[in-house]
């Protein structure tokens, strides 16, 4: 017994010694910024392969041809191009490049790099968000001078500068031609070189990406943080523990735990309406199928859903009801679209039942609802169950199909289960991003991804691309949104506000309104 108690004392002593010893050295120097995220998506460092989801760290390493303010407006101060102009026929876009910009390996950035980067971004290997539309649109890229690049399009267009800006995907990122040609694609992906305010130090997949600041950068002056580390921490409890210990400065947190952190005094920065959670019906070979082919049924399904309750109870009040299918609200201001109070769907099961009766489907019908989790949306399945529950109350026999998202996506694009319902938390974006999305999801010629099949909307979307008068574009976009809402082409559920918790000393941070970008460079700005 004596021996046992002596052993216990030794263990206790060692444990305390360990605590004292191990507790040392965990404080971060103030020149470091550490960000803990639940996912890095693909963890790819090559902009042509990573796509827009990984923009938040790529935007630190690379410069865009066209800069963007955190509010999503084109900026002559934030990109390689200091000015740009179009020809009278809107088919030649000339970009004047910033002089004296150097890549991290010392090579000067020229128009050849811009041309090389763009060709690479729209190449067949690329998986960026808008490679396809750009490939269709671009006819030629000319480099008349080292500080001038001309993009020639097949059709008159207004959208080239926006497509190559920070507000959309990664196609506008300028990469070092000579370096990539010397080390190859794989070498570049392993050790990327850009011209941004931070340069690559190391990547340990599944663990972290470490960047270090250049001495001074035209975009942000002398960076406030010498090093920036992105840590991959999938478990939220761990991210919060790291935040409490001061080991990280920024962490993405769930809507569920925001209250607890706020009580502890951690500032919460919201990306308001970061995504719209919207549902749609899988089309058949010729568009919507019965019974949702009937507008009254679509309206009934919308009226049956208590969006305010879903926002409150499933999303902890960190969401707002949505009224327009595919209604990417960051674009509304750009095009002058206003969601009127009449557009908001009331929760009105009685009227919904009447509409179903009018449509001749009063005893109800069967409806398959796909239920899956999505990245950044742990509440996905619960939301699907709740919506299905509301529809059950109308007498509709819903069948929840638990799958993973890719399985639904295949069923959707293959049109294998016409009439079934799926959903996605579509990242919010500006008007051109919204247009690009509508051109896939609400445009019949896009075939696979279409969710609408409406000749009137098809006509308007077809005009947007060729239109060079911004006022007319705005009017077309407004009309598209109005018709999407008026015809109930989907079930918009809520706009999601995404919370990011920061250390108590981090200070002001404008998380911005640009798709998948969090403007850490603004946070590090020494200007």
């Amino acid at each position: 017994m004596k021996r046992a108690s002596a052993m216990a004392r030794v263990f206790l002593f060692l444990a305390l010694l360990g605590v004292v010893f191990l507790g040392e050295g965990s404080a971060q120097p103030k020149t470091e910024l550490t960000v803990a995220f639940s996912s890095f998506s693909t963890e790819v460092l090559d902009p042509a392969l990573g796509g827009h989801i990984v923009k938040y760290y790529l935007s630190l390493m690379f410069d865009y041809l066209v800069g963007t303010t955190p509010d999503g407006q084109p900026s002559r101060d934030g990109g390689i191009a200091t000015r740009w102009e179009n020809s009278a026929d809107y088919k030649r876009w000339t970009f004047h490049l910033r002089k004296g910009v150097k890549f991290h390996n010392g090579d000067e950035l020229t128009s050849e790099d811009v041309k090389f980067s763009l060709l690479r971004a729209i190449g067949k290997r690329s998986t960026t968000g808008y490679a396809g539309p750009l490939r269709t649109l671009i006819q030629d890229i000319e480099t008349p001078a080292p500080d001038r690049v001309v993009i020639v399009t097949k059709e008159p267009t207004l959208i080239i500068p926006t497509y190559l800006s920070r507000s959309l995907s990664t196609e506008g990122m300028v990469l070092p031609k000579k370096y990539i040609e010397a080390v190859g694609d794989d070498g570049f992906a392993r050790k990327p070189v850009g011209s941004g305010p931070y340069k690559f130090v190391e990547q340990v997949t599944g663990s972290h990406i470490k960047l270090t600041a250049v001495d001074s950068h035209w975009r942000i002056g002398t960076p406030k943080y010498r090093n920036m580390t992105f840590r991959l921490v999938p478990e939220e409890t761990t991210r919060i523990a790291l935040l409490r210990r001061g080991e990280v400065d920024v962490a993405d947190v769930s809507r569920e735990r925001v209250g607890e952190l706020e009580k502890e005094g951690f500032p919460i920065h919201y990306r308001r309406e970061e995504a719209i959670l919207t549902m749609w019906w899988v089309l058949g070979p010729n568009g919507l199928t019965s019974p949702v082919k009937d507008k009254r049924v679509r309206e009934a399904l919308n009226l049956a859903v208590d969006r305010a309750e879903i926002a409150r109870s499933i999303f902890g009040g960190k969401a707002d009801p949505a009224a327009v299918p595919l209604g990417l609200s960051w674009s509304f201001k750009d095009v002058g679209f206003k969601v009127t109070p009449e557009m908001a769907y009331p929760y009105d099961p009685a009227r919904a039942k009447k509409l179903l009766a009018d449509a001749g489907v009063a005893p109800g019908f069967s409806l398959d609802v796909y239920a899956y989790q999505l990245p950044g949306l742990p509440e996905g399945k619960t939301m699907a169950e709740a919506v299905a529950g509301y529809w059950e109350q109308l007498g509709i026999k819903t069948r929840l199909i638990p799958v993973d998202y890719p399985a639904f996506r295949k069923a959707w694009v293959d049109r294998a289960t016409p009439g079934a319902v799926g959903y996605f938390n579509i990242a919010n974006r500006d008007w051109i991003g919204a247009y690009a999305l509508l051109e896939k999801m609400a445009y019949t010629p896009s075939k696979a991804n279409d969710t609408v099949n409406d000749a009137e909307i098809d006509g308007m979307i077809a005009q947007v691309m060729r239109q060079t008068d911004k006022d007319k574009i705005n009017a077309l976009m407004r009309n598209v949104f109005t018709r999407l809402r008026g015809e109930h082409y989907g079930v918009p559920v809520v706009y999601l506000h995404s919370p990011y918790a920061t250390s108590k000393t981090l200070g002001k941070w404008n998380v911005g309104r640009v798709m998948y970008d969090l403007f850490f460079d603004q946070l590090a700005s020494g200007k």
């Binding site: 605590v19 693909t42 490679a131 409890t237 790291l242 999305l437």
Partner: protein, 306 residues
């Protein structure tokens, strides 16, 4: 002995060949990875391009032969998700898993040996009961729950130890303990029962009669003969800890092989799934062989047939 090792190596190779077919088929049965890789706006042309570029448009037999042909040279292809050579990813992750498993096993052995032996020697006393409680808790508490609890309280609230990531010795303690505690229970019970059996044997009684010190009887004579099942258990569990610590690696943000497997499965990254499964199988085969060889070292009575 050499013939035994050669035979076991041959068996392992056959097993690996069978596993390579099974994992190749099962990985593809999960669905098309392009629905995860390509953006929502991807066109049919984008799908066709990606399929061609990633080699997914070739017939399955051709894909399999190419996979096996390269795998024997240590080349597992390129990750569809990370777009890096899979062998590089394995090289990055495997050492982290080995280190964590070794640390966890160290903790397990350090706890299980004194507890198991003392529980047998002091059978029916408070020490024995305490050991049994530890054993029951270790095997019944879910690993993810223990891990979350440790992160929340020991790391987050008390701030005694790091919550996650690899950053020096301190970062090994919580994940190592979480992994190790589960193993402690099994090891301790085996040791206790083994010791009880051995302590009752004739040669131990004889040693006592001859006046050999009790400490020497227990730790030298008895323990050595109670070790065989313990070594088997520890060996198997070491391989398991290296390869399947998915929950612990996820909670503690530990970039190991288990998380790589999880990432591979959740993104339908065929080359990664195939490589991780084959590596895991190889580790299990090697550890089992090592354990078999150890038997002969520990117990000279054991000799493998010529």
């Amino acid at each position: 002995m050499l013939r035994f090792i050669a035979a076991r190596l041959f068996q392992s190779l056959v097993a690996l060949a069978i596993i390579s077919v099974v994992v190749f088929v099962l990985a593809r049965a999960t669905g098309d990875p392009l629905y995860l890789i390509l953006p929502m706006s991807a066109t049919e042309e984008d799908f066709a391009n990606a399929r061609r570029y990633l080699g997914l448009d070739r017939p399955y037999v051709e894909q399999y032969l190419s996979f096996v042909g390269r795998a024997v040279t240590g080349d597992f292809g390129t990750s569809l998700r990370a777009r890096r050579p899979v062998s590089e990813l394995i090289r990055e992750r495997l050492p982290n898993s080995l280190k964590l498993a070794a640390f966890a096993m160290g903790i397990s052995l350090a706890m299980a040996f004194p507890l198991g032996v003392m529980a047998a020697v002091k059978k029916g006393t408070g020490i024995d009961r305490a050991a049994q409680i530890i054993s029951v808790l270790g095997q019944s508490l879910p690993t993810f729950w223990v891990a979350i609890l440790l992160v929340e309280f020991v790391a987050g609230r008390l701030q005694w130890l790091p919550a996650g990531g690899i950053d020096g010795f301190a970062s090994y303690v919580l994940p190592g303990f979480t992994l190790g505690w589960f193993v402690v229970a099994g090891l301790m019970r085996l040791l206790r029962s083994g010791m009880l059996e051995v302590l009752d044997s004739e040669y131990v009684k004889l040693a006592r009669v001859k006046g050999v010190a009790e400490r020497r009887v227990i730790w030298m004579h008895a323990l050595k003969n109670a070790l065989i099942p313990v070594i088997t258990f520890a060996g198997i569990y070491f391989a398991i800890l290296v390869t399947t610590a998915i929950v612990v690696e996820t909670v503690f943000a530990w970039p190991g092989l288990g998380r790589l497997a999880y990432e591979g499965i959740s993104s339908r990254d065929f080359p990664v799934i195939q490589a991780v499964v084959l590596t895991t199988a190889a580790i299990v085969a090697v550890v089992n062989l090592a354990v078999d060889c150890l038997y002969a070292v520990i117990d000279p009575r054991i000799r493998y047939a010529r």
